[in-house]
Symmetry: C2
Subunit: 182 residues, 2 copies
DNA sequence: ACATGATGTGTACACTCGTACACATGACGA
DNA sequence: TCGTCATGTGTACGAGTGTACACATCATGT
């Protein structure tokens, strides 16, 4: 009957985007084929046609998410040319990027939870963390890179879960302490 | 027929424990009334009898979990009497507590994910974080407490998601840098 | 001994889910 | 123009879900 649009090359992409959107709203638990299909304005049958199963779709979605975030991260670190700018870039990543995209916080937690339990999703987080570290490594030594990476993670998470907002100056202070070599 | 054990005052507790156990294995997504009932060796009807709904059960379970972890945290910090011991205690929390109880990692992520999306679960994480900070505050100033708390979080998470193990000495190094005032 | 009411349980209902698969569609070569 | 077949879709099925609620059970007071 209504099998209108025949070739829709962006359909796969739209499904992935819809998937992320649904996960941001409802969580992985609430991300069903039917809801995603509705969100993407695509028939239910398309789901299994484009993706062998829910897992394949989740992998595709979180890979796209991780790439997006890592791109932003890299862009900020690449733009810095002096040590001072690099320090500022790290602070900005914590204060601006995360705050500007609150839905990313939720998505981060979802992928972490998935990765914590299921190794097949850990390749996604591995690649993501590796990219972040390479970007940091352009400006800092190996140890500092490792520690900054962890610090960014912790501050980000706590900013998300804390009711009262964390003092912006304190974030800068934390980065400064990390940069102090002994 | 077999309505044996009439009064079983520990039943509610057993359900909560079973709930945590199932979540650790299968995640919140896989924690159904039926599976938990099976794990707790309790009839399905008991679920709705003791808990008004899934949410109430989840709240009870994660409250217990948060209390358990916070107890351990407090115990370690209280045992320290000198600054040096306090520093050591922080390192141990990261290196020993988390490593010894790997299932706690998964549970942490699950509650974070829940709290990130739904405010009614954030009271649990709030109370948890508050307790941790009070315990740290016995030994460190307010700013340092905030930063250490975030650092512990970040290092813990990255240790969980990273393939290669983080160098133990590096953890100590991170804590030291945090403790250096300007 | 027995009635009674609190305590706890089995089951049924309405619903959502992932997935398979028979079939419709229309682009394209002849 | 028309036949063919890759591309895409509607639907149905079995499994699993939360929850409500009629009922069984037995501790207790008389």
């Amino acid at each position: 009957m209504n099998a209108a649009r025949r070739t829709d090359p962006q359909r796969r992409d739209r499904i992935i985007d819809a998937c992320l959107s649904v996960i941001a709203e409802q969580g992985v638990a609430g991300a069903s084929h039917r809801r995603i299909a509705l969100e993407a304005d695509v028939p239910l049958g398309s789901m299994t046609y484009h993706f062998a199963g829910m897992d394949e779709l989740l992998q595709a979605a979180f890979n796209r998410f991780a790439d997006t975030v890592a791109d932003r991260f890299e862009a900020r670190m690449s733009a810095a040319t002096t040590p001072h700018e690099a320090r500022r870039a790290v602070v900005d990543i914590i204060l601006k990027d995360v705050f500007t995209h609150p839905e990313d916080l939720v998505l981060s937690h979802e992928i972490y939870t998935l990765a914590a339990r299921r190794p097949e999703f850990r390749t996604i987080t591995d690649r993501w963390m590796t990219r972040s570290r390479i970007a940091l490594r352009r400006h800092f030594d190996a140890d500092t890179t490792m520690l900054l990476d962890a610090l960014i993670e912790g501050l980000t998470i706590h900013r998300a879960l804390t009711v009262g907002p964390v003092d912006d100056a304190l974030v800068a202070e934390a980065v400064d302490r990390m940069l102090r070599r002994d």
